[in-house]
Assembly symmetry: C2
Amino acid sequence: MNKSSIKVGLLGWGTVGTGVSRILLNQSDLIRQNSGVQLQLHKIVKRTLPASRDGIDLPADCLTTDAAEVVDNPEIDIVVEIIGGVTDARQLIRRALQNRKHVVTANKALLAEHGLELFQIAAEHNVSLNFEASTAGGIPIIKTLRESFAANRIHSIYGIINGTCNYILTQMHESEVDFETVLKEAQAKGYAEADPTLDVEGIDAAQKLTLLIALAYGINVPMEQVFVEGITSITQKEIQYARELGYVIKLLAIAKLQQDKVEVRVHPTLLPMRSMLANVGGAFNAVCVIGDAVGPTLFYGQGAGEMPTASAVVADIIDAAKLVRSQTQVLIPRAWLSDSEVEISVDSIDNVETRYYVRPVVLDQPGVLAQIGSILGRHQISIASVIQKEPHGEDTVSLVIVTHDAIEKNMQTAMREIDALDVVKEKSQLIRIEEEVNF
Amino acid sequence: MNKSSIKVGLLGWGTVGTGVSRILLNQSDLIRQNSGVQLQLHKIVKRTLPASRDGIDLPADCLTTDAAEVVDNPEIDIVVEIIGGVTDARQLIRRALQNRKHVVTANKALLAEHGLELFQIAAEHNVSLNFEASTAGGIPIIKTLRESFAANRIHSIYGIINGTCNYILTQMHESEVDFETVLKEAQAKGYAEADPTLDVEGIDAAQKLTLLIALAYGINVPMEQVFVEGITSITQKEIQYARELGYVIKLLAIAKLQQDKVEVRVHPTLLPMRSMLANVGGAFNAVCVIGDAVGPTLFYGQGAGEMPTASAVVADIIDAAKLVRSQTQVLIPRAWLSDSEVEISVDSIDNVETRYYVRPVVLDQPGVLAQIGSILGRHQISIASVIQKEPHGEDTVSLVIVTHDAIEKNMQTAMREIDALDVVKEKSQLIRIEEEVNF
């Protein structure tokens, strides 16, 4: 196949951009052999021109500080947005799409917020907007949902899709230190940002989940409709008690289809210790997808980092390159088409039915368990097991309660009543349990 | 998107064909929404016309006994070959490709044997020949290697890609029964064929491995060049001793790039007990791919069965449908193009370097270990551990030896010398150990 080369422009030259430039410069023969397209790195936009980088020999005049040299450049066919952030990225992607350039982005925050607008522009100009690297790094979960599982009704998705949280929780499981200590260590090692809020509060995972849901269910879920709980309140006690019960705590992004509604939630979750998801350690990611035809599947790999993310970005560039100068009509995911039929809506967290781990801290005196049990019973919550833990310092004990399936709304009401009891001394921990992914 | 419908013809209506017809009949709206193509099941060829099937309401005149009504039918755009076997399938696929129909097949035996011929015909007629369902059922490993990892130099592939063997080995691990007993039970449950040779001798896994290698390394490996050992000689003793050492035995299909040569082998393998691959149980499949950019990845799911395999077949049909009536040049994997540049060749099993588990059965008398140790030492094989097991019936004991890394050729020579010793009473067991997939 002797197509003329297809010119690629990068917006941004940070970690991922460096990886993308490495691959485009060093592996263009391999890419041509594997995919029949000849890619050429033409321009890189960087706000301040950096010194040269190890092992990267850029073509002359490749670096520029002027984004117009990429997004308005008639020679460039494919624009790769890897500057991050929302405002500038949005403007530049809009302009690139309007100039009929295919766009590749890793920007989940942007798509979660402005996907509808950007895909609309892409559709109007018949160019693609690819985003494999936005979720789960090098794992091809976006393509799998878009293409490989296109004949499946997706029952559920369970994702460990925030490496920072998974690193922190893994360390807490392995070294018995507290959240704050592990967070500092993760920051020192580069596994967590200086401001870790987006990661540890579950927001990053929620943004990614909306992208997976867009492909799996064809609906654009606004962030406000995602139920999100981060990992900041998980203590060593929770980790240890969970282990004693045979569970591991993970931050899980969950989508579950229930008739015509889909549960959309991100929260710490107790997973059976022997399950594959429970054993995804460190900064790794994994996504489990259960489809009506394909059954249970699991995809595992590095969720971030220079080269894994670059691998996904370049795969998207190759897909876009196959469309350059073809007459093919580009397929826009229907979640982001304003005129698409919608049959599925987001279910309220109130309706979720699952098992719960709850840990009230109570005065060590007779009758307390009876009080708590009676509140739970009044709200149709049945107890599977209770363990009373050794006394804390000041006459209090932890009651580690595992429930049978209960309805979230009832559970929340019951917990409010329990936490209001005189004998309950702090806000009770509540963690949802997931046993459907026990493989 | 309002394309006119694309007509699909099936060759065969067995298990997988039934699943494919279910999806095409029941999920055509979902497929159109997800992929923008309107598929229509037009004809099914079945040698003898069956009675109707549960839940399948075929269009009038859909069933026929005449394959020409599919492969020569000008109305049909996509032909799906799911009759299995080599001779008829080959002739029909040739004819369909020559008639410029896109072809989808799940037939690994056919592609392993005649891939070069069939892809050549596909290239000449600019039609696609898709085969996602040939390997690992519903797991999209073919598309991942072809597209998602196209910018990666693949370091290695480790696959549990024969469900029958994995079911049998899992049962042997869990219920402590012998191979023959589990095989009979597997046959009764439909997990093994009446003639299980292709599965238990590793041939099916080897055929699939050649397809993965074709995509990962761009080379067409003839079956004669694959080193294949089945699982028929694995006894309960091996299972138990492996477990004591912290390993699980799996039939693993392995490809490893060593400079410009690639190791291509299928054999029982000791895997670290806590690794993800070791925990793939029952009839499930998993493929681990390590790429230079993406790093280690793992893909897990059902490797066979009506609906998982149909899910992959229909994904291939959708990909083909996107090409129907387009002017796009179809991409043929370069492994099967006669004029492709080849830089990588198959390495001899003799050059493999790995750790080994060996179990000589020897007379229970002094000096035996010294004799064996001296033979191993003479061939540059260093012992990591030896455990002497309790006496068997007749004055013999098992020596369970684990070596450090050694060269296969040396190992084989040493084992021939060891087995020729008077004190060695039966052919020693030898199983390779794999510790690179310890995640």
